[in-house]
Amino acid sequence: MNSVIRAEKIVKNYAGQRVVDNVSLEIARGECFGLLGPNGAGKTTTLRLLLGLISPDSGKIELLGEAIPEHARKARLSVGVVPQMDNLDPDFTVAENLLVYGRYFGMTDAAIEARMPELLEFASLTHKKDVKVPTLSGGMKRRLTLARALVNDPEVIFLDEPTTGLDPQARHLIWQRLRELTARGKTLVLTTHFMEEAERLCHRLAVMDNGRIISQGAPRKLIAENIEPEVVEVFGEQAENWAKTHAANHAERFEVSGESVFCYVMDAHDLLLELQNHPELRYMHRPANLEDVFLKLTGREMRE
């Protein structure tokens, strides 16, 4: 594999707590790789380690052929970062933000200006070029942050929860742009807790929990390996009672969550016939998705 990122058994502790626990990753050129996990799973810390912003307590990291964190500065010449929290310069216009950021990469003003129309076009912000950042909408700010991450024409782009807090329209536009980047051969590494995002964008995923990678592979493969292909969700006040007496007879596995029962089955035919006898129960039959895998692997309890 022509890998651009390689991490071997990296460990990071904070105040005696293991935040990243023996994480190994290999990400190929042109791949869109997703780090999936509940809040506090160690996703952001893993990204910061890969970027060389913090040092691992043990383990080895290589980014674009450079040892990290020793040569992080050199590696980051060809890296773009979209952080989780907006950190655009509020005193500057859209164009000034791009200009100032490009200078941090040692680019000349002329070189940045030459890239500017393309970047603005990509972010759909050409008409907002001379507008100050605070007046932009959340989606526009996110697009500007993405354009800023591209100012140095990076080979690898790290995105930490790129669509958190955006409305569906804004989110779809970001997804479209990210697919364009992968189509151009850029390597993308993103963290997310949106299953839909991960399923749509990522070629490969790693599911993280409590600092560890608990499963890794292509979205379809993760679903096929970890979970039955079909799901029947049964709702209603009597759902739990019904589950106790009937679900196990017709489903390989089921989980009760409040007034809902999730039945995981290889073939839903028998289960659906059985449900015809219970008009008081509503149900939905659907293929298994990444969220099912995620909940199976990381559990249903709240993470706070």
């Binding site: 010449l77 950190n87 655009l88 310069d89 500057f92 941090y104």
Partner: protein, 259 residues
Amino acid sequence: MNFFALPQLSLRFIPIWRRNYMVWKKMAGPSILGHLADPVIYMLGLGYGLGGMLPQIGGLSYIAFLSAGTVCYSTMNSASFEALYSGFARMQEQRTWEAILNAPVTLDDVVLSEIVWAASKSLLSGIAVLLVIWMLGLSHSLLSLWIIPLSLLVGLCFASTGLIVTALAPGYEFFMYYFTLVITPMTLLCGVFFPIEELPPLLRAASAALPLTHAVNLARPLLNGAIPQHILADITVLLSYALAGYYVSLVLFRKRLSQ
């Protein structure tokens, strides 16, 4: 990462300095007015008001005596405010540092840029006060031009020491301790308003260890057309504070930002 590693100097602090300059340019009017108004009010108010009741000090009118102190405490204040309040805003509130550190720039560069930028504000402030001094006819010597590089040095000194406080600060309220317990006593003990010879021996000894004293030691003769007596010693103290401040604040920032 070794928090205690010596700083690695590079020219990458320049684009960060330019970023701060670009922000400042947008608000240059009020900023320059601030640099001028404060020292003018002090010099006119205290210099003429208080000075009218005072005899000459070492052959200088009180206002001329005060002018050297004013240059020094103005440049000290400019760098201190920039390094504490604005520096903290860039580090914490606006997350400017976080954005910059994702580029091929290290914390060593970012902290250096903060120091040089805050010292640039001191330079501006020093030039502003010098112009006022000239306009009021309080200095007639070409030696007074040395106030310009001195302002930069005083700025480097107080920017780096101020950044230690920024690195430790949980929030803006914390800065009150520094201004109340360090900057204000320094202003009163270092010969800004009266000669340190007036102080009791213990305070005089304390005063000799404070950087502002050495800035005043240099500024007062220069404005008065004389060559300072202990140039090397005074410059060494100011530079030592600057270098130690850079190193200590960098170590503290490395710790803080590795969390």
